[in-house]
């Protein structure tokens, strides 16, 4: 109880008591009972020609989570237009993190958006990749002194590819995808494992900046 007092806990996450149909009282701790408490484990990275083929498949089928986190997300829609047509590179948009592999952090990341980004990222199946779009993700950019945005994305989430600029044009984004593909094909697309292995560090950083954590440590 003491611990909770110095942290803000949303009312719906507080421990509550309900009476069961048979009259007994049940104590529900939403954060413990409704979310899996398991810790993630790194997956095994294979090798050999099969793995090379799979890496190629992973690279040629990039499913991007349709989640615009910042101003840079305005650069993503043009990719589906005839002018840029990302489909021909095997890049597609998906609506749910469960079916996406690539998360484009498009520009500055407000703290409350970071929380959502963490959640979405953790819900994506591995191997998964983060493409950081724009300068703000690298050093905060023009928001370097903002009270409300993070400065360095890789403090909080593992980034596979950076696309610098403010804003980078869609072409740059396509180039970024090409770069990511190269990484994956080279067998270097396993930052998800890195995240899991250094989970303690990432979580410390995340919790340091997100005051109203209000979610389990790992969002399955």
């Amino acid at each position: 109880m003491e611990e909770k007092k110095d942290k803000f806990l949303a009312p719906e996450n507080e421990v509550r008591q309900v009476s069961a149909p048979d009259g007994s009282i049940i104590e529900v701790d939403p954060l413990k009972d409704y979310f899996s408490q398991e810790k993630p484990e790194p997956y095994k990275v294979g090798s050999g020609p099969v793995e090379n083929f799979l890496n190629w498949a992973r690279a040629e089928s990039l499913w991007v989570l349709g989640f615009g986190t910042g101003c840079g997300s305005i650069e993503i829609p043009p990719l589906v237009t005839p002018r840029f047509d990302m489909y021909r590179f095997g890049v597609q948009m998906r609506a749910t993190p469960r079916q996406s592999n690539v998360f484009i952090i498009s520009g500055y990341l407000a703290i409350k958006t970071l929380k959502r980004a963490i959640r979405a990222y953790e819900q994506m199946p591995s191997p998964k990749y983060i493409v950081a779009l724009g300068s703000c993700t690298i050093n905060g950019g023009m928001y370097y002194d903002s009270y409300n945005t993070i400065n360095r994305l890789d403090q909080y989430l593992p980034v596979d590819a950076y696309i610098a600029g403010c804003m980078p044009r869609p072409e740059a984004l396509l180039a970024g995808f090409a770069e990511l593909k190269k990484l994956i094909k080279a067998g270097k697309g396993h930052k998800a494992n890195e995240y899991v292995e250094n989970l303690e560090w990432y979580k410390t950083n995340q919790k340091k900046i997100i005051k109203d954590w209000n979610m389990p440590d790992y969002n399955w």
Binding site: T96, R98, N101
Partner: protein
């Protein structure tokens, strides 16, 4: 009744062909759509890559036993539909297990995979899944009305529910196809098909951003690969069903591929042209025009019987 290994292997081969044809057809259609929009579109092999990628993912999350079995049900539904329908007219090898039943069996077996999948998706506890399913079921019920009317009109016309007999009656020239001998039933049936294929404008079930793609919202990696395998199969099988009913069936694999392509193309074409409908609108629509055409078809068929 032939439960031999040879039969099984022939069916497996047929299934393999159909699966690949289904994938090819889907990428082709996507390219057609892309061209319409002035784009190049996905590579022809994209569906296979996607499938391989999905199988190559390393995270498998399960919401429960039914969640796990849901895609299995779905694929059994697709494969079963394939197995219960003869592929090539007049061919013993390619007759599959169609001796177990006929058109009626197929009509009801459609729902087998659907309901199984519905349970699996529900087990994921995501409200979006059940929203999608509820829309799908409502639309399905409405689609079934013109569909049933068309089937009944055909059954009256040919006095049979057997695929072989229905196809047999359509042999001997294009003008013997049901689309010409019973145009009203065919119109009703083809309009119903638009709903059955759940392409735009009848694809509110899987509204991508409103309810993140609906029922399969929680499915990922290998589970999603099973679902995509099924959708490749089922698109061909559905097209084949309508081909058998209205377009004289197929007596060679070439005819099979050509005809299924064009039947499928009809629904894609309509989808390119019309925007998505709300579910109440599509229910109203199906219960209005296609149903009216279907009723007239049945009455006409009954009159000429």
């Amino acid at each position: 009744m032939d439960y031999s290994i040879t039969k099984f292997l022939w069916s497996l081969l047929g299934l393999f062909i159909i699966l690949n044809w289904g994938m090819l057809m889907s990428s082709t259609m996507r390219r057609v759509g892309a061209r319409l929009a002035g784009r190049i579109g996905v590579p022809m092999y994209q569906p296979w890559i996607d499938l391989a990628k999905l199988m190559a993912l390393k995270t498998w999350l399960s919401h429960g036993v039914m969640y796990y079995i849901g895609p299995v049900f779905r694929l059994v539904g697709g494969v079963g539909m394939f197995l219960f329908m003869p592929i090539i007219f007049g061919s013993e090898i390619w007759s599959n297990y169609s001796f177990s039943g006929d058109l009626i069996l197929l009509l009801y077996f459609q729902s087998f995979g659907m309901l199984g999948m519905a349970m699996g998706a529900s087990d994921s506890s995501s409200p979006h899944a059940s929203i999608g399913i509820s829309r799908g079921l409502a639309q399905f019920a409405a689609v079934e009305v013109p569909m049933t009317l068309a089937v009944i009109a055909i059954a009256i016309q040919h006095q049979t529910f057997s695929f072989n007999s229905i196809m047999e009656a359509q042999q001997g020239g294009v003008l013997n196809w049901t689309i010409f001998t019973n145009p009203l039933a065919s119109i009703a049936g083809m309009l119903a098909m638009l709903g059955a294929m759940s392409h735009s404008p009848f694809n509110l079930v899987k509204a991508p951003n409103e309810i993140p793609i609906g029922p399969p919202t929680e499915y990922h990696s290998s589970f999603l690969s099973v679902l995509r395998t099924n959708s490749a199969i089922i698109h061909v099988v559905e097209a084949a069903l309508f081909m058998n009913l209205f377009f004289g069936g197929a007596d060679t694999w070439l005819m099979y591929i050509v005809k299924t392509f064009f039947v499928y193309f009809i629904s894609v074409f309509v989808g390119m042209v019309f925007p998505r409908m709300k579910v109440e609108d599509s229910v109203r629509w199906f219960l209005k025009w296609p149903t009216a055409v279907g009723i007239i078809a049945v009455l006409v068929a009954a009159y000429w019987k």
